[in-house]
Symmetry: C2
Subunit: 322 residues, 2 copies
């Protein structure tokens, strides 16, 4: 079952070999047996990396901001793993992901490892695998793991379910903050950044975000600051790094960091359990059997899906339980 | 178990009483037993309504376009149900949803029924319940059901998994079409609309979309047209309505409509089955038991979630199967 392969890879990963980390991540992403075995060995060695989620609407300059922030962390002697979640379509996916990595000046610096993960195509289940990829980076020794996602609507990876600190990036644009609110971003952000702050309307945007945050329940004791950055020149990025540290200290000092990580871990566990239950169902349905075989003609009125679901479950699962 | 209530409500719904439809939809959204019983009665009466999905980035003018398109359909003597999916945050949700409905001039016209559904908060599972809400509208007698969603990233309701025809709305803005591609929208659209087409850059945007579509696999035999609209004045909306009809005829004439609806139905069935399996697991875990009880201290290195998932499933589910 490749046990030796796995042990060898884990040893190399723990010795700091980057290709071993890359290989392990591929296994983990694919939920390959070897990836799962590697995780058994790696999880006990995690807990050191700080996880930062950076999200916002398309075009807000998230990648540039992540790059600039990472440069800063590297300059300070830290190491960084970046997980760039790309909701790219399969038909152009590969090329785009490749381009993105090439485009990043960071790729050649020591101490940084960038991994793009696509939300479409593949085996799905980003919310199962992205936190595990972060765990591999953590065990490898990265001081920070940064998740970068397009956050509009409920993306497959809910960044607030994976990060210790969630940063929302917006730009000064008429209605952008309203749209962010509609997309649920105002609720999950712990730090807000108005990027491209040299543009017209930056003051208005900061003002709008501040007003909207006033509506929010402040029960937690943390008032989300609203910062300004110009990612392309690096302006404001030092302050962002400092504010992330402040939030980290806030969480740690109140025991909230462990609490939050526990909740995230349980959410991930739930995803894995549900996926297993489903696999199990298909196994029980028998070789070649699919849900489709329970569905008749749908060209005209037909049975309710709840009715059919009862039939599937009563016949196959519940029967065998007794 | 409220069987009489359900029968009475279904009768009233089928007699065309709008409040009965509204009540049934609430039950369905909540996956209330009565909603599920109502669906058993309603699904056999579905199959007439044509389902149109309208998606695009925030701020593209989707609501206005949906309103104008609906006006046109109403003028032609058709009836329309609208399902507006709002990824609104819970803390402002109610107000925003209410405003949206009030803001729509349509609310007072006969033959249209608007329902907002929020992706956050509540019991979740939009991809289970939204198609069922559409089924209730279908059985009620609506000629069209329009799903309106913010489509960036993988939203909880994948519009292409619910609609017969998927329309993607963009605006002339630098990089908007690139962003749409990154968000996976280029892949699912069957009709593209450049809204606010009186703005600078409309030609460029149409050109960009057309070039990107050229990359797409054209295997299906339908080349997605790229239209221009100004939703606020109604310009181009007649052409959009005509193009939707053309796509409908394309699907029907090749038997693709039934095939597509079958695939969507199976996807919904799968969601329901998986949710049931999960409920079942919690029942078996016993009163008060939660996944969290399997998770120890996570403040430092700890076991892999896959390992814990095996423990949960081996102990509780697989044991009882034998």
């Amino acid at each position: 079952m490749g046990g030796n392969d796995v042990r060898e890879l884990v040893d190399r990963l723990l010795a700091g070999e980057v290709p071993a980390l890359a290989r392990a991540i591929t296994w983990i992403e694919n939920e390959d047996e070897r990836g799962i075995a590697a995780l058994d060995a790696l999880y006990p060695l995690t807990g050191n990396a700080y996880r930062v989620g950076i999200s916002g609407p398309p075009g807000a300059g998230k990648s540039t901001l992540v790059d600039t922030l990472t440069e800063r962390l590297l300059d300070a002697g830290k190491t960084v793993g970046i997980i760039a979640v790309d909701p790219t379509s399969p038909f152009t996916g590969g090329a785009l992901l490749g381009d993105r990595i090439r485009m990043r000046g960071l790729g050649t610096r020591d101490g940084v490892f960038i991994r793009s993960m696509a939300t479409r195509g593949g085996l799905g289940g980003l919310s199962r695998s992205a936190p595990s990829v972060a765990a591999a980076m953590d065990a490898f020794g990265h001081d920070y793991v940064i998740f970068e996602t397009v956050g509009v609507g409920q993306s497959e990876l809910d960044i607030a379910d994976a990060a210790d600190t969630t940063v929302i990036v917006l730009v000064p644009e008429s209605g952008d903050s309203i749209q962010a609110m509609k997309a649920g971003l105002m609720e999950i952000g712990e730090i807000f950044v108005v990027n491209k702050a040299d543009r017209d309307g930056a003051d208005t945007t900061v003002q709008e975000i501040t007003s909207m945050l006033a509506l929010r329940d402040q029960g937690g004791g943390w008032s989300p600051p609203v910062l300004r950055t110009i990612a392309s020149t690096g302006e404001g990025v030092a302050e962002l790094a400092g504010t992330i540290e402040k939030h980290r200290e806030f969480l740690s000092s109140r025991g909230l960091l462990t609490e939050r990580r526990r909740a995230h871990f349980i959410a991930q566990l739930r995803e894995i359990v549900v996926a297993e239950l489903e696999k199990d169902l298909y196994t029980r349905l028998g070789a070649g059997a699919e849900l489709g075989s329970f569905v008749g003609d749908v060209s005209k009125g037909h049975r309710s899906p709840y009715q059919i679901a009862r039939e599937v479950l009563d016949g196959v699962v519940r029967d065998r339980r007794s």
